[in-house]
């Protein structure tokens, strides 16, 4: 094992002989040292992304963020919507040269109150994410992690030190699903979710519903029960529509009816804020007051069409709406 290293970033814990890369493609054993190949080298950088696109609906609604992503991912979902960057090597795409200082400068220049680490998987560009987050906080800019949460505890604690919000993609409430469709496991993701909430990060959960694979309402019920019990009923849940993509082109898009039923199921299990995304369903993106039932924030796509939130509370009945509003 001379010269081998063991990566401790994610539950895979890849053991790498010299010259070999981890499963994420972006961490390489270079002469006995583990090197990140993507530090300061995003392949996607968007200066004015709506935060609703992440999606985070209860975090600075109506604002824009700078979004960055490098190549690589430590999961390999067969339905990945960003596989052209998540499932390639660093040398396959020409990156931008964008060190942390320039990301933060771009956020200031474009008057974005937050930076999102997104599109692929911020866990695999851990050092870049962490350093950019710290610098952003120094300058009063908030950070949003958009992640699948497949990470070990120690690095997650470090990432959360400067994370203000996260959208965590809970693929399904089934270990078999994680194993067969994502090449991962469920348990570390659930632990990451609990830890993030415990550490005070504002967390929203996304569940992509893939027809025939994870659209079973019984499984969705169990997932919602777990969210309500372990994370709390105020944690927003986004059901997202699947589109035929990557290695799952043989399946149809998720029917609107399935998403609406999932939403009704989640509400019936006690979750207070449940959304339907990637499709225009009437009321699917609206924040509804759980007490009086009035619309607090009306949305159409990523746009906010009406805002009746007053000091973080429902403008009609005064009930506090959980979230980070300023």
């Amino acid at each position: 094992m001379s010269g081998w290293v063991k990566c401790k970033l994610c539950p895979r814990e890849c053991q790498l002989p010299p010259g070999h890369r981890g499963d994420c493609r972006v961490r390489i054993n270079y002469e006995g040292r583990l090197i990140s190949l993507v530090y300061g080298k995003p392949v996607s950088a968007n200066a004015r992304d709506p935060v609703e696109k992440k999606p985070v609906y209860h975090f600075l609604p109506g604002t824009r963020c700078v979004s960055i992503a490098t190549v690589g991912c430590n999961l390999h979902c067969k339905f990945c919507q960003n596989h052209t960057i998540s499932q390639v090597n660093p040398e396959d795409l020409e990156p931008f040269d964008l060190p942390p200082e320039q990301v933060v400068a771009a956020a200031r220049r474009h008057q974005c109150p937050s930076i999102a680490y997104t599109y692929s998987e911020p866990i695999v560009f851990f050092e870049y994410t962490r350093d950019t987050q710290a610098l952003a906080h120094q300058q009063g800019i908030k950070n949003i992690l958009v992640t699948a949460g497949y990470i070990n505890e120690a690095p997650l604690i470090e990432l959360c030190r400067h994370a203000d919000a996260a959208n965590l993609d809970l693929k399904a409430f089934s270990n078999d699903y994680y194993r067969e469709l994502c090449a991962g496991t469920l348990e570390p993701v659930l632990k990451a979710l609990e830890l993030m909430v415990r550490l005070g990060v504002w967390v929203e959960v996304t569940n992509l519903i893939v027809p025939t694979l994870n659209d079973d309402m019984e499984m969705i019920s169990r997932m919602c029960d777990w969210i309500a019990e372990k994370l709390g009923p105020e944690v927003p849940l986004h059901f997202s529509r699947f589109s035929p993509m990557y290695q799952l082109t043989q399946l149809p898009p998720t029917p609107a009816d399935t998403l609406v039923r999932a939403r009704e199921t989640a509400l019936s299990r006690g979750l207070k804020h449940v959304y339907v995304g990637n499709i225009l369903v009437p009321g699917g993106g609206d924040t509804i007051c759980p007490d009086c039932g009035k619309i607090v924030i009306a949305r159409r796509g990523y746009a906010i069409t009406a805002m009746k939130l007053e000091d973080g509370a429902c403008g009609s009945c005064g009930r506090k709406i959980a979230g980070v509003w300023k």
Partner: protein, 58 residues
């Protein structure tokens, strides 16, 4: 003056054929080497930052 192998001249045709195969093999290897070299060059262009959260296994 080189002699083109004639139809039916199996020994000569075989020798030409082997030379063709060897040539193809060498060309293929050269291309692969160029490809690997190019990829390594691109990889080196990326910023090399030592990662956190790893341990040596020596």
């Amino acid at each position: 003056m080189s002699k083109k192998p004639e139809a039916g001249d199996r020994r000569e045709a075989g020798r030409v054929s082997r030379r063709g195969f060897a040539g193809s093999l060498m060309a293929g290897l050269a291309l692969m080497a160029a490809g690997i070299k190019g990829r390594l060059k691109l990889a080196k262009k990326a910023a090399l930052k030592e990662a956190d959260y790893y341990e040596r296994m020596d």
